[in-house]
Symmetry: D2
Subunit: 99 residues, 4 copies
């Protein structure tokens, strides 16, 4: 799952403060969720139930910091024919690149 | 909330069959959720808790119909300084267009 | 194609003023592009070349109005096995709903 | 800019073959574009003009490999008040995390 959270109507165009606070929520999560921060989003790996619980809390963070409007984008890529992890997906692309 | 669900690895490039099945799930939802189908997505209005419950079921539909991989995109636009509905958002743009 | 443009770091959480200005750009576009405004996005129909030219101008609007940061989301759904329009996509779903 | 390209109606749920082919297009690009592959997307850094030129070619790849329908998602995060790179964005978040 990939998540991007953007507060709207904050005074400054910088959002790194919010991203850092959201990251702290992830670090203290009790759910067994794997996290990778990219320059454009946060990528999460885990069961759909755990991921939705975590995203709900992430979406709250900017409101708690004073934002009045929050835009959250979530992209779920779920595969049920075989196990698929962040690592296995990248490894599969790298393998094809060497063919 | 805007939702787009795309089954991956189906034989046909047509996905309207899946969209129709997903729409049936929405029609039978007990949650008080407002629905608008657009050519690119489904737009839902309601409380975040109801919307997440509905999206979870929508995401299951292609798997139940045989798909092995599903890509679901969710965009949440939540505003807490004033009530904001599908209608009020469009009305507000139209108003500005007449200024 | 579906487009959503969000200015970041504006003082007010309201973005309808920007959406209206973007809509004016679309109204004066010389490209033969079909437009539908939804509560969550703008849906455009046309050739990929025309659409990209229009989106480039839409993305500039908030900067011209003073925004320092703009987040633009674009989703392209292109099908080459048969003609696919905004109307034909909705009609196809409705047809399946009546089966 | 973040790009995700999903072929629809391919027989297999695996898309790594397409991602690898798209990556080859990026490797041979003459535009000075910086690339980072993530498990959910490809992140590109460069001028908007170069990025759009590259994305147009990326979007063609699955069609050249036989796909009849392609869904391409593009997210642009452009900031004009100060230079913002993939590295500076991550560094800014890490800095806030240590405060």
């Amino acid at each position: 799952m990939e998540v991007t959270i953007v507060p709207v109507g904050t005074e400054s165009p910088s959002v790194s403060r919010y991203v850092a606070d959201i990251h702290r929520v992830l670090e203290s999560a009790i759910e067994p969720v794997k996290v990778q921060l990219t320059p454009m989003s946060t990528i999460l790996e885990g069961t759909l139930e755990d991921l939705f619980a975590v995203v709900r809390r992430m979406h709250e963070v900017p409101f708690e910091k004073g934002a009045m409007r929050v835009n959250t984008s979530i992209r779920i890529d779920e595969r049920r024919d075989k196990e698929s992890t962040m690592e296995s997906k990248l490894a599969s692309v790298r393998e094809k690149l060497q063919e």
